[in-house]
Subunit: 321 residues, 2 copies
Amino acid sequence: MKKTAILLTGCAGFIGSNLSNSFVKKNKIVIGVDSLKLGDLKNLKNLLNINNFKFKKIDLANYNVLDNFLKKTLKNYKIETIWHLAANSDIKDGFKDPDNDFKNTFLSTYNLIKAAKKYKIKNFVFASSSAIYGDLKNKRLSEESGPLLPISTYGAMKLASEAIISAAKESFLNKIYIFRFPNVVGSPSTHGVLHDFIKRLKKKPQNLKVLGNGKQRKVYMHVDDLIKSMIYVFDNSHKKISLFNLGPRDDGVTVKFISKEVVKYFSNNKKISYEKKKKGWVGDVPFFRYSTKKFRKFAPKIKTYSRKAIIKAVKELMSNN
Amino acid sequence: MKKTAILLTGCAGFIGSNLSNSFVKKNKIVIGVDSLKLGDLKNLKNLLNINNFKFKKIDLANYNVLDNFLKKTLKNYKIETIWHLAANSDIKDGFKDPDNDFKNTFLSTYNLIKAAKKYKIKNFVFASSSAIYGDLKNKRLSEESGPLLPISTYGAMKLASEAIISAAKESFLNKIYIFRFPNVVGSPSTHGVLHDFIKRLKKKPQNLKVLGNGKQRKVYMHVDDLIKSMIYVFDNSHKKISLFNLGPRDDGVTVKFISKEVVKYFSNNKKISYEKKKKGWVGDVPFFRYSTKKFRKFAPKIKTYSRKAIIKAVKELMSNN
């Protein structure tokens, strides 16, 4: 008899490695794949010697490689669900070269969908992003908000992925789960505002230079809460399409708040300086009103807050350094 | 001095050939490209000998081919605007093989966007589709409607295209125009419900067998009105993003109405039979409430109706046959 396993892409990344750990703790068998372009085997150090976790380095942008891998794997395992987290998570990078987002964020999804059809894999869980909304100014972004006009190639390729998954649901998938992530913080993350500040402070502790005017306000979720939320929805939603904004119960915290939390760990810091411009960088969304009403209604017991998420994550990152 | 020209993709297709004709009549120079997979040179018969129209057979899914073509063309012409109409317009085809939609509807857009960046082409006009909305049941579909969950790979790849164009606007394009088309009828169209009925009636005039129960209601626009509407928006909208649902002022006509209009031309028809199921085919959207309020407000003088569009188109198609 074949054993049932989960196919988890991007397993060596920040969120993927946490999710892999969660599944293995729940006695699930995880077949984890990662291109190791951004992911790191270090993140899987607790898993690589465990029987219920199988790792394979794969470039999902290459369909033939994926196809061969699945052909072999499915001789021994039955895969019912793909958890697709692999992506180029470096948003700024796409402004220089969109090909990275195209290949690693969209083509990877497209190839997985083709493979799911061929190998009759029934369910597809996708790590989407609030970046698909673009900059809808002061509109509160619910799952029903439009128009969807992303302002980064990262957001564009996440939206393109949602679209092809949605079409596949109509044609052959049984259930799809689309989770739109807010900014996620925690360990072992590798980029984002916290890393940026820590790096700058290590170089020049006296003065922390912040991109933008510090008033950019965003919602943050700790990776532990994110994973709890996704698994809760997967286990409890029985609709053909489960689409949720995941996020905290608040309207976020400012870059200023975050910068102050980080400098607390640098006793020799004397100054934080801000720029005059609203946006930190091209593609940055300075304000962000995010509705998590649908999720809160669905999972009233899962309560998360941006402030707590930042404080916990800064502490973790500083103790790892 | 270089002459200013329009780059028009899909120029040998149904809508592209009509648009090419319109521009040439307005004394614009059109550089028309088409892969001729679905497009047909017959559609350009009035244009191929005209000085202001240059045709080149190109597969836009191949970036290097596009790049070489533009390198040469831009020695003699200045291109400020791309009108991108090329796509795999056969929606049903995508359920068998999604690669056609991927290459010819999305990758073509992606490559054009990359080329627009490289060659500093400022404006991008895109022929999108109401198919990006998927099946939002009885919701009236405005430009702000969501979630966007297309149910065909055609719709998915149109949405993916919108997304990458939107991201490019943030990063380097000056103005973008996204037109979401309803069902468009007229000459020289090659597929769709009218062609389907005519083909069936020619084979078996006594009994017209209709897919679905005939109650599917959709909005239709005649190609002449569609082109008038697009050019009006292009000439008069000065926003960075012009996103419009294009369509008639009504809630559409039923398949039953259309079938009756077509059989009028077949004196030996005795019967029209319908199926019991709501959907004609997988990916069909049986009901469709489409809001064109934004366009009507913007262009109050352009008035079009589904009924008139169908009657005019059936007449044209029957006189061409």
